[in-house]
């Protein structure tokens, strides 16, 4: 082996193969047991806290999810191993365009081929990601087609959702909860957009989530109030309304109040989890 000219590459390949093999053994032999113990709360508290949906998901769901993760990690390790060998070993570096081709552009301190390849891969990822989302109109945050405000608005009436609270000590008086401080960590746009997506969805399952969402909003309102993070009154219920405004471009200062108000649902404090 000492006389083999590619012994370093061979050793590197063996190390990386060992790493891949170790991962495979861990992922298939040990990790499922750890996932199971964490699911039933018998593992370390750090791991137990990661699994939170026992009420709605059986342990098989988590094992299937782990199988998916381990496969992806194997693919990533394989790709990274290939890149490491390709970039670091001279046997493969000779395939790239030589440094000498860009001496005038790289200045007094030239960039080595491996580094050049890494930077170009990063640039390709960034530019490719932005271009892909623009062309396909898909959202793959942090890439995006930046669709916001791109539609034509033709309607002169528009609707927004609004949350009103009913104080515990009053019979029917409703108070508008106008500030984001009642809904933290959501800001108003985040909260109302989330509710609107559920409300305007045609899928019954997502629509059914609206009540759960409102119950969570009410629960967190009370938690924040009890912690002294806002000074709102204790509530016995919350109501979600759809408010409609009309736009008058001739005199937009007038008529800033909604012209219609429709109750969507009400959640009570005792029903909130």
């Amino acid at each position: 082996l000492r006389s083999c000219p590619n012994r370093f590459t061979l050793a590197l390949v063996m190390c990386l193969a060992g790493l891949l093999g170790s991962w495979w053994v861990f992922a298939t032999k040990f990790a499922p047991g750890i996932v199971e113990r964490a699911y039933f709360g018998h593992s370390w508290s750090v791991l137990n806290e990661i699994i939170t949906g026992q009420a709605t998901h059986p342990v098989e769901d988590y094992l299937a999810a782990w199988a998916g993760i381990s496969q992806r990690v194997q693919i990533v390790l394989l790709v990274v191993s290939g890149l490491v060998i390709g970039i670091t070993r001279p046997e493969f570096r000779r395939w790239y365009p030589a440094n000498a081709e860009i001496p005038s552009t790289t200045g007094p301190q030239p960039i080595c081929n491996g580094r050049l390849l890494t930077v170009n891969l990063l640039l390709a990822f960034l530019i490719g990601g932005m271009a892909y989302d623009t062309v396909t109109r898909r959202e793959n945050w942090p890439f995006s087609p930046y669709n916001m405000y791109s539609a034509v608005e033709r309607s002169f009436s528009f609707s927004h959702l609004r949350i009103y609270g009913i104080p515990a000590k009053e019979q029917e008086r409703e108070i508008l909860l106008p500030d984001a401080i009642y809904f933290r960590p959501f800001n108003k746009v985040q909260l109302y957009d989330s509710l609107l997506q559920a409300y305007s969805s045609h899928r019954p399952t997502r629509r059914a989530r609206l009540k759960d969402m409102m119950e969570d909003v009410l629960r967190r309102y009370e938690v924040l109030r009890a912690s002294g993070l806002h000074d709102g009154p204790p509530l016995r219920a919350m109501r979600l309304y759809e408010l409609t405004w009309r736009v008058n471009l001739e005199d937009p200062y007038a008529n800033q109040k909604p012209v219609d108000r429709k109750l969507i649902l009400e959640v009570k404090a005792d029903s909130a989890p």
Binding site: I50, G107, M130, Q190, P252
Partner: protein, 419 residues
């Protein structure tokens, strides 16, 4: 094909100075620290999973929603990483941690409601994590200067591609927005009353909370709204020109910034994090050079022992911190004839024993007081300057200096040729 490859390399890897990238890093991370210092991401750990709609990378990588306690830890680590990256301390590690933790923390709220106000920040953090942005204007570079005083970072394409990558990201973002408008609505986006309606609807209902109610006034003038809409598309579509043309850059970059500011004033949504990325358009090295070229109002002359390794290291650090170029260095082992001619009251043995600093009025200070005098002209030391005048500090400082100075000749011998 080779022509395209040459052009590609010429654009990304034209030699640039480490100073420009280093200053971009400092200013960019300062902006992030100012913006995110008060942000609390831990609350997301308490939100019900009924709101959870994972975005692509969170779904694909099975990234979970962590508990409130974990999020507290993560955000504390992230904010530390931002500060370290700004200072350029363990820059490779701190910029990488800034990206990895920032990706999770900034991305977390997007799983509840998607928006793109800070997506570009995450991509910029990724670029900086791969770059050599700590080679100048960093604690790392000061340490390097202390260890190897003769070595300065050369100009290289390494310092150009990260800056231009951020330019390209901004250009692609604006172009995508223009393409999206033209694809969805064509020119109707300009000719219809879309802009007027939005200016009104964003002022009703107290959700978007625009900074002013000027939108209601402008909405009454249809031609103004058409001009705003046409200007928006023109700026967004033309923005990529700023990558290649300096004159276009002077017009388009400020226009796009004003456009984003206008959106905040008239309609409400704020794009501050995106706006921070514009710091990469500023040629900071030229700005710094211009500031340094100003006539010197105050200066210090440092007399040091050129055969002492510790003194040479200290001089390297002071040179790195002397961004206003107010300090002149004289090696007493080499320049004693000139020094003694100008300051006959000085004694060679005394100058070899303690560092001497002479100010513009000819006042000579030594040892701890020499460092305190230097602190007046080093901006990075201004933070600690008042502390150096507290009662007791000069006493402690003098003794610490004396302790180190008494051991320096034994601890560190400097050979001028050594790297």
């Amino acid at each position: 094909m080779m022509f395209l490859v040459r052009k590609w390399n010429q654009f990304w890897f034209t030699p640039g100075s480490a100073d420009n990238l280093g200053l971009c890093r400092v200013v960019f991370f300062l902006c992030l620290i100012a913006f995110y210092a008060g942000s609390d991401f831990s609350g997301w750990g308490s939100v019900s999973l009924v709101f959870w709609r994972p975005i692509f990378f969170f779904y694909w990588l099975h990234i979970p929603l962590l508990s409130v306690g974990f999020l507290h830890l993560l955000q504390a680590a992230w904010k530390c990483a931002l500060v370290l990256a700004c200072l350029g301390c363990f820059t490779r590690l701190s910029t990488t941690a800034s990206f990895v933790l920032g990706f999770y923390l900034i991305g977390l709220p997007k799983n509840f409601r998607l928006d793109h106000t800070d997506a570009l920040v995450v991509l910029t953090l990724l670029v900086l994590a791969f770059s050599r942005c700590g080679d100048a204007w960093s604690i790392d570079s000061l340490i390097r200067a202390a260890r190897r005083p003769q070595e300065h970072p050369p100009i290289s394409g390494e310092y150009t591609w990260p800056v231009r990558a951020v330019w390209a990201l901004l250009a692609l973002m604006f172009m995508a927005a223009a393409v999206s408008k033209l694809r969805h609505a064509e020119l109707e986006w300009v000719t219809s009353q879309t802009m007027a309606i939005w200016l009104v609807t964003h002022n009703y209902g107290h959700i978007q909370d625009p900074a002013t109610s000027w939108g209601l006034f402008l909405a009454q003038h249809t031609w103004v709204t058409h001009v705003i809409a046409a200007g928006t598309i023109a700026i967004e579509a033309a923005y990529p020109l700023a990558l290649f043309n300096t004159r276009a850059r002077w017009l388009l970059v400020p226009s796009a910034l004003l456009m984003q500011l206008g959106i905040r004033l008239l309609m409400g949504p704020a794009f501050y994090p995106q706006m921070f990325c514009n710091v990469f358009w500023i040629p900071w090295d030229r700005v710094a050079a211009r500031l340094m070229a100003r006539p010197q109002r105050q200066s210090r002359m440092v007399l040091f022992d050129g055969y002492c390794g510790l003194c040479n290291g200290t001089v390297g650090v002071v040179k790195g911190l002397d961004i206003l170029q107010r300090v002149v260095f004289w090696d007493v082992t080499q320049d004693w004839d000139g020094i003694s001619h100008r300051y006959p009251q000085l004694d060679l043995d005394s100058c070899l024993k303690d560092m001497h600093v002479i100010d513009v009025d000819g006042q000579i200070t030594t040892a701890f007081y020499a460092y305190r005098s230097l602190a007046w002209v080093l901006p990075a030391a201004w933070v600690v300057l008042p502390l150096l005048y507290l009662p007791g500090i000069p006493w402690i400082g003098s003794r610490v200096y004396a302790y180190i100075a008494s051991r320096r000749s034994r601890a560190c011998a400097y050979s001028p040729g050594a790297g």
